[in-house]
Symmetry: C2
Subunit: 191 residues, 2 copies
DNA sequence: GCACTATGATACATCTACGTTTCAAAGTTA
DNA sequence: TAACTTTGAAACGTAGATGTATCATAGTGC
């Protein structure tokens, strides 16, 4: 089935987008969701799914790409405003939190998404960008330099996760989640 | 197959333990690992696995119980020493980090493990205990009281995850991971 | 040594998901 | 309206995992 749909056809692009969206929802809820479930969730036939994505892996990889690109889009204004170091990191939390679900459905499917060259490429670049921001913060004297950059990047990732988790549980909204994450990251919980 | 093995028989207890250990390793690496893989990894026949655990779900639930009990054992000295608040939380990081893998293979299988009443029971109690420690810390004026306890518990969980992740990646050993996690949790990364 | 029990290997049945194919119907474009 | 494309529904084949049953072998306890 090497059939590629024409994305200029409104039916095709609608189906494709519905499938990608449904995939996020379905896999977020259950990483082992079957493609039948995804198709049903998207409101399209199972055969249509296979007309748009050759395999399960390809679907997941396309979803990953879409999500990573969405992060890029959300981050763009930050770089345009020329924010640096801790200011950029804080802004990153604010823009990431509302799309954190798309970011973290990947967690359980990363082994599959990571097979794709393009996905790895985008992800590595994004990780590098965060690295740069942390380094900037260190040079500006905003961030402790006795903690490795690697650790701090891991920490940031986990705080995004913590915020998203709280949002998902209904304990917080996106705004307060990012505020809490920022406060916790920079200031800790100690009085 | 309602056959229950006699754990007094050294062969049976050896097989059982090998299967539980292999399950941790296998599922940690790949949450969809087949029972064939688990059995092979444990060095026992697939049939033997089914003689010890009726279903895949039961195996996972037994693994979960074992892991939660291991956390309990690791935490026992802390309560015996009568540590409170932030001191207990710090100690918790130190004892948790070396067994964090057992704690977090659960992450991806929690939906299954959580089906078991006993598992839920132990987990809820442990979560409650952390809750209590945080509250103690707040009352003692060690922990900011403008952050909800729920948030701080989430944060602690994520920091354990961050530390475990760094250990797994080979960036840190258990000791430095817990030190960094403690420093980050209480003091943040700001200079 | 003897009764008992766990084990490995194997064969077997079942079930579910994957992926393909076909065809009539409906939507799109010109 | 007419040519073209996407779609849903259904049937089909395949592969892999789950769970069961059997039997000879080997370890265990007395």
């Amino acid at each position: 089935m090497k059939n590629k749909m024409n994305i200029k056809d409104p039916r095709a692009s609608r189906s494709r987008q519905a499938l990608l969206d449904a995939g996020i929802q379905a896999f977020l809820q259950n990483p082992n969701a079957s493609l039948t479930e995804v198709a049903t969730f998207a409101g399209v036939g199972r055969a249509t799914l296979y007309r748009h994505f050759e395999t399960r892996e390809q679907l997941i990889q396309e979803m990953a790409k879409e999500s990573l690109i969405q992060i890029d889009k959300a981050m763009a204004p930050i770089y345009e405003k020329n924010l640096k170091g801790s200011f950029a990191i804080k802004a990153m939390f604010e823009v990431s939190m509302p799309v954190a679900d798309r970011f973290h459905f990947l967690l359980s499917l990363w082994n599959i998404a990571n097979e794709d060259t393009k996905v790895r490429e985008i992800y590595d670049r994004q990780l590098n960008e965060i690295n740069t921001l942390v380094e900037q913060g260190k040079r500006a004297g905003e961030i402790k330099s006795d903690m490795t950059t690697t650790w701090i990047v891991t920490l940031i990732d986990c705080l995004i996760y913590a915020g998203w988790w709280s949002i998902k549980d209904g304990h917080l909204d996106a705004k307060s989640a990012s505020e809490l994450a920022i406060a916790s990251l920079f200031g800790g919980i100690q009085t």
